[in-house]
Symmetry: C2
Subunit: 367 residues, 2 copies
């Protein structure tokens, strides 16, 4: 409950009466309770001094307690007016809300209007940056989970590479990967697993389908697992059969861009510096127009969180930040290649969490 | 693009200059383009007279066009300021925004503030109810897709029931179901597939795990598929071996509650009437306290949409509405049972989309 205390201190410092946290990722972060309430109301209210409280659908109250939530829980039925229950619970603590901190990047306008109706005199402050600044630095417990999540991602790539064979479809390989993970107890991927082959590798957001693997294809895997509520995210691109010279050149360009950016990671470096290092390698090799996205993104409870590794983010890296580095070249006339690692900023450098090799893997075609 | 025209008419009627649609489900509904933009800006702007425009991440522009979007698309890179591009595109059409309709149940406070900065003099109206009232009535094209989605759900139950065997785990059965669907071209479920056995059936939101099926278990399947962007959702509960009398009583009570509510569906009946019919059956049988959720929910592009079938919703059913009816009894001392169908309100009654039998299926245990 250390995170609750940090938020309480923040409220006291900023003269805010309470924080209302409804983003399910943040609810999990502060409470340990992971739930997807769909349109139903789920939230944690944190106060300066008083004990926090949770509001959640009635049928999930036991789950919230089982997850370790030791404070009050207000359960609501579908026939209740949950906002009124919330107000009553706050009033029951003798607390008057004049300033309420909310997640402006998550709360909907409709919910803000509901809160304005409950607390007509209250003003609403932004809690997002405080939560982001807490979540962007992972503690040792979180890092240990992220290391394990990355190991499962490595394993998934290994399974996928071993599955490649002439005539197998992308979806067959994808299914084999997810089945192998399920057998290891991994029930959720952090996003839709991507297995793309041949010309489809040049579509950075392509969808796996019935295309059959052919000799001369590059095969791109982009996937990650959710482990104890935390995400991993890895990309590897391999060659089915001997690559052409131009395919190899694209691969080695991406590999150098990725490695140079990884090698530059340490506290004090800015996110935009990393993007520039990778982009310069690709641009100098003549493929600049085919690197169409940012270099990477933060990783944790969400598969996309802070810090964003873009050419315009001047945020300085500090110890404990976890993010991806994932340059790509998508040249439809040659191939697509992307290589992605998860890494953590250490005291004086970088720890790479994903460990699957990055030398070009060439799978023999058998003839 | 008929839906765009409907929205344009609504804007004209209500003296609104434009609508800005950013809920990915609604973007799909009005444009045919399905995308999950994560934190990136994706939206469709509809005007009274002028042609609509789309804003989306640059790398998805070709996908939007391939999906049939025939109007302008503003692509933005991660290094762009997408809100400024949006404003420029609107100004480029010579349109002044004084009143903008937004989805208040989806748009975040942060995005509203961004719009307020772009259009400091504008006021913001609610578009949600208009979109909901359009989406709640399915046209014949949508119904045909929903029928097919329901067929896949029936098939999934069939696969699951056939997989039940002593010692098999819930996760093994779940994996077999999803693999069978993948082979049929279904790559996404409409929510996490639920296979619960024995005492876990009494947890309405339980999670499948390593529990092994045992003689005397009830096994509950709750699942659905996404087919051409539309969701199905079915629940069946079956018995592995001869049920006890009390298990059978619970089953038959739920079955009667479900069937009575289904039989009552026709235009003019209120959502709350259906909830009461099913709840009365369960309450009279003495299990009222164990039916802990609403009777059902609308179904379409979202797995939970309007109409909500609760005890407090006095919305009258009209032709073309599609929703679930899914009463349950979760008595930890006996078993949990839920039975769920998808159905559509017809001109004078009901069409049931899910067709897997509802007589209690008893699977022989082999000894």
């Amino acid at each position: 409950m250390n995170k609750i205390k940090q938020i309480s201190s923040y409220l006291t410092q900023h003269n805010l009466d309470a924080a209302f946290i409804t983003n399910p990722d943040n609810v999990f972060y502060v409470s340990g309770f992971r739930s997807n309430p769909h349109e139903r109301l789920l939230g944690v209210v944190v106060f300066q001094e008083a004990e926090p409280l949770m509001i959640c659908p009635n049928m999930e109250v036991p789950d919230a307690k089982a997850a370790g939530w030791a404070f009050d829980v207000v359960g609501h039925q579908d026939t209740d007016h949950p906002w009124k229950l919330l107000k009553d619970a706050i009033i029951g603590k003798g607390i008057v809300i004049s300033n309420l901190a909310i997640e402006k990047s998550h709360m909907t306008v409709e919910r803000l209007e509901a809160l304005q109706e409950l607390f007509p005199l209250a003003s609403f402050a932004r809690l997002d940056d405080q939560l982001n600044s807490m979540r962007v630095i992972k503690d040792e417990n979180e890092l240990e989970i992220l290391r394990q999540a990355a190991k499962y991602a490595d394993y998934a790539i290994e399974v996928g590479v071993n599955e490649i064979a002439e005539g197998k479809t992308e979806l067959e390989i994808l299914t084999a990967i997810e089945l192998a993970l399920k057998k290891k107890g991994i029930s959720h991927m952090s996003f839709d697993t991507m297995v793309l082959s041949g010309p489809k590798t040049a579509s950075p957001h392509g969808k796996p389908g019935d295309r059959k693997i052919q000799k001369g294809d590059f095969v791109l895997f982009d996937l990650g697992v959710i482990y104890k509520g935390y995400c991993s995210d890895i990309t590897r691109t391999v060659s089915f059969g001997e690559p052409t010279d131009s395919q190899r050149e694209v691969y080695e360009t991406v590999r150098k861009a990725e490695q140079d950016a990884v090698n530059a990671v340490k506290p004090g470096v800015r996110a935009m510096d990393l993007d520039k290092i990778a982009r310069d390698v690709i641009t100098k090799a003549g493929y600049g127009e085919f690197f169409t996205h940012r270099l990477g993104h933060g990783l944790g409870i969400s598969v996309h969180e802070f810090p964003s590794i873009t050419g315009i983010n001047d945020m300085q890296l500090t110890e404990g930040m976890v993010f991806t580095i994932e340059p790509g070249i998508y040249d439809p006339s040659i191939t697509g290649v992307r290589i992605e690692d998860d890494l953590v900023v250490t005291k004086d450098g970088v720890e790479i969490l994903t460990k699957y090799p990055k030398e070009l893997v060439i799978i023999p075609t058998g003839n």
